[in-house]
């Protein structure tokens, strides 16, 4: 029975946590919080994370359900009490995580909730990339045999080396794989996270507390008689504090830069300086909470300490008081700086809303609608007729999730009749998060449009893809009767841009990896099936590291028609044998990279 209970507890501890609050008084659609991060976010070191004696490493998640509550949980609860729209938190922070693990955490959150984007994201990352836990444990000499060669006094790594690791983390210095964990820099990490935040949303990035109080502030007995704190020698403390300060400073700068990059899209970044604003807020004894202060908010060595908890990694992590204070600080930061009510409402798109949609003035092309204002459909029709008999009406609609936020978006098939025998179709896309999102050029790149515009048969949304079925002319079709059936497929990238048609867009890390593998083995047909911008950025990052691909700036980009007309083209071409991957940089405001196509040396798609 006890074993079964233990297994259940373990299963619960390993699972992502979705914490919900009842949005009983919520005015408007719910908001969602994603809690990412490493052990300082997961709650490592809090009681029950995991149970003492469980040697199996896990995420040590203190979600407040089966264990104590980490700061992100208490911050969520406090914020949700103030803002009833905040109804859900997905907690996937994991002890031991490095920046590179962020995609796994996001994938885990998506699998648990079906959400692809969130309104608030909290995270702490970077400490494990610079191997700070190993450094600290190395300082206290955990030799397991009486061999004096193993007894290296003090820390094994000096300050200059640790600062170099921080520079690798920020991208200021190339990664040395022998001295650093992972490869994803903070700027790239923040870009990946930003892509998962709805326009209007916020990302809160926390820094790390100083583990140990300044030696000059120690009790005299400790300073004079022992010269150590929790196994850490006094002469190492200044170094550890200096590196911690540098790490926090560099994280703060990276957050500031991320905010500048993404605020144009409405995604904001904030830095929560836990060291200065929570753990060491002044000179008074009750304002300082590092180890060997009067009131420490971190665990000391928990190597079989009074709790008989033998999990070493629990050492030097915040205790419940530290998490509570951090949670209150983050909640106040959100209260003071985030206008949750201003986060755009996510309203499910329904066939009804599409049939009564507000249309852009140029929905049927420039000059078609004379104004003033924008045309608005009423039950699928426009109560307007132009001097030449022009009309606009809906000919079809589809609803389904396009932007992967778990809420239905929609596509409206519009029939534009300018009078006479001509006509045209337009396919407009509306999203729950942002209303009208743009139109798609379903016929892009397809020849033989003839004197009549092609006829669109239907629009549909299937598995997060917009499918437009239309007809055009085969070689000798009469003008009356186009017989060639064509299907164009579109997706919405993480930046809310409609992409697709004859070319493909890569939209996730896994897909990039698959694409690179396909190209590397010259499997063009497989590569062609891979089409869908976060992963693309990684591909660009990777371009210098892809063994078989030689990348260069080139004018040989594949033909691509940008449906928004905002694209700035910057082409990179990587080749491997006969295969070529062409990259196109688009939408400067979004900084998004897209892989727009693949071709062999002959130039065919």
């Amino acid at each position: 029975m006890r074993r079964r209970a233990a297994l259940l507890a373990l299963a619960a501890a390993l699972a992502p946590s979705v914490i919900t609050t009842a949005p009983a008084r919520a005015a408007g659609p719910p908001l969602a919080w994603l809690a990412l991060g490493d052990s300082y976010a997961s709650g490592e070191g809090l009681p029950g994370t995991p149970e003492p004696g469980d040697a199996r490493p896990d995420c040590a998640r203190a979600t407040g359900e089966h264990a104590a509550a980490a700061w992100a949980v208490s911050a969520y609860r406090a914020t949700a009490r103030r803002e009833p729209r905040l109804a859900r938190q997905t907690f996937v922070a994991c002890s031991g995580a490095i920046t590179d693990d962020v995609t796994d955490q996001i994938a885990e959150a998506t699998a648990a909730t079906d959400l692809r984007q969130w309104d608030l994201v909290s995270l702490s990352f970077g400490g494990n990339n610079i191997k700070f836990a190993d450094v600290v444990l190395g300082c206290i000499d955990l030799a397991h045999r009486w061999n004096p060669v193993d007894f290296t006094p003090g820390c094994d790594v000096d300050e200059a080396r640790l600062r170099r690791r921080v520079d690798m983390l920020t991208g200021a210095r190339p990664v040395d794989r022998h001295d650093y964990a992972g490869s994803l820099t903070l700027p790239r990490l923040y870009d990946i996270v930003a892509a998962r935040v709805r326009p209007g949303g916020y990302v809160v990035v926390t820094g790390y507390p100083n583990l140990v109080e300044e030696v000059s502030r120690w009790d005299p007995w400790r300073r004079e008689l022992l010269g150590a704190c929790e196994g850490l020698e006094a002469y190492d403390i200044a170094m550890l504090r200096s590196v911690g300060g540098y790490l926090n400073q560099q994280i703060a700068l990276a957050v500031e830069a991320a905010n500048a990059r993404h605020s144009q899209r409405g995604v904001h970044f904030m830095f929560a300086d836990l060291a200065r604003d929570v753990y060491e807020t002044g000179d008074a004894a009750n304002q300082r909470h590092g180890l060997c202060s009067a009131e420490p908010w971190l665990n000391g060595r928990t190597l079989g300490a009074l709790s008989r908890d033998w999990r070493p990694i629990k050492s030097f992590h915040p205790n419940q008081a530290g998490h509570d204070a951090s949670g209150a600080f983050v909640a106040n930061l959100i209260r003071d700086h985030v206008d949750l009510a201003a986060i755009p409402a996510v309203r499910e798109v329904t066939p009804e809303t599409l049939r009564n949609a507000r249309l852009p003035g140029d929905a049927c092309g420039d000059g078609f609608w004379p104004g003033p204002g924008e045309p608005v459909l009423t039950d699928g029709k426009l109560n307007w007729k132009g001097p030449n008999g022009e009309t606009i009406s809906a000919r079809g609609a589809a609803v389904g999730d396009l932007d992967r936020d778990g809420v239905a978006d929609g596509a409206l098939l519009l029939f534009c009749y300018p009078g006479g025998s001509a006509y045209s179709f337009a396919v407009l896309v509306y999203t729950a998060a942002g209303g009208y999102a743009g139109s798609v050029d379903y016929a892009n790149g397809v020849p033989n449009r003839g004197m009549f515009a092609p006829g669109v048969e239907s629009v549909g949304i299937d598995q997060e893809r917009l499918v437009v079925r239309w007809s055009t002319y085969a070689g000798d079709d009469a003008h009356c009767c186009p017989s060639r059936d064509v299907t164009s497929t579109f997706t919405m990238n993480n930046r809310g841009t409609i992409v697709g048609g004859p070319v493909g867009i890569i939209d996730d890390e896994e897909t990039v990896t698959r694409l690179v593998r396909a190209v590397s083995r010259r499997d063009l047909s497989a590569a062609h099936r891979i089409a869908t911008p976060a992963a693309v950025a990684r591909l660009v990052d990777m371009r210098d590291h892809l063994g078989g691909l030689r990348w260069s700036t080139s004018s040989r980009c594949l033909p691509y028609s940008d449906p928004t007309g905002k694209a700035e083209r910057e082409c990179y071409v990587g080749s491997n044998g006969g295969w070529t991957v062409s990259l196109l940089l688009t939408h400067p405001g979004f900084g998004s990279w897209m892989v727009v196509g693949l071709r062999d040396a002959g130039g065919g798609m």
Binding site: A143, H144, P148, P153, L226, E230
Partner: protein
Amino acid sequence: MPYRVVAAAATLVMLAACTPDHSASARRTDSAAATLPPPQPAAAAATAAFLAAEGQPLMTLTNHAGALAATPDQPTCRRTLAALGRGPAPDTMLALAGRVEDQPLREALTAERAVLLEVLHRCAAHEDTAAAAARLAKLTSTVRDRLATLGVTR
């Protein structure tokens, strides 16, 4: 190696501390301030019980630390290593020290273990052990004083 620089600096400080320029009154002030806090009765009892049972290797360690601090030469280093090798490993000693309920003694034993390892390391590397041994002597004295305060018989 930075710790060597620091250790050398510490040696200089210690040497300076022995010069007549340092007034006796200043040293008395430090010494007066550096008094361990009084023990909590419950912690004292629990500590005594632990050291008489599972924590017994810590008493052995502090005895060897005292001998090594007094004579930090090669033969003593070898004898200390051999004797300690028959007991719990260094990381286990650290864990045992972590279970001492009296906080000042817990920290003193932890620091004593670390400096004992440093003396043994310097000894094996044929480096100067004087500074580390002096610190070890101070820590050993602190541990013994605390044990006496707690009523732990050795």
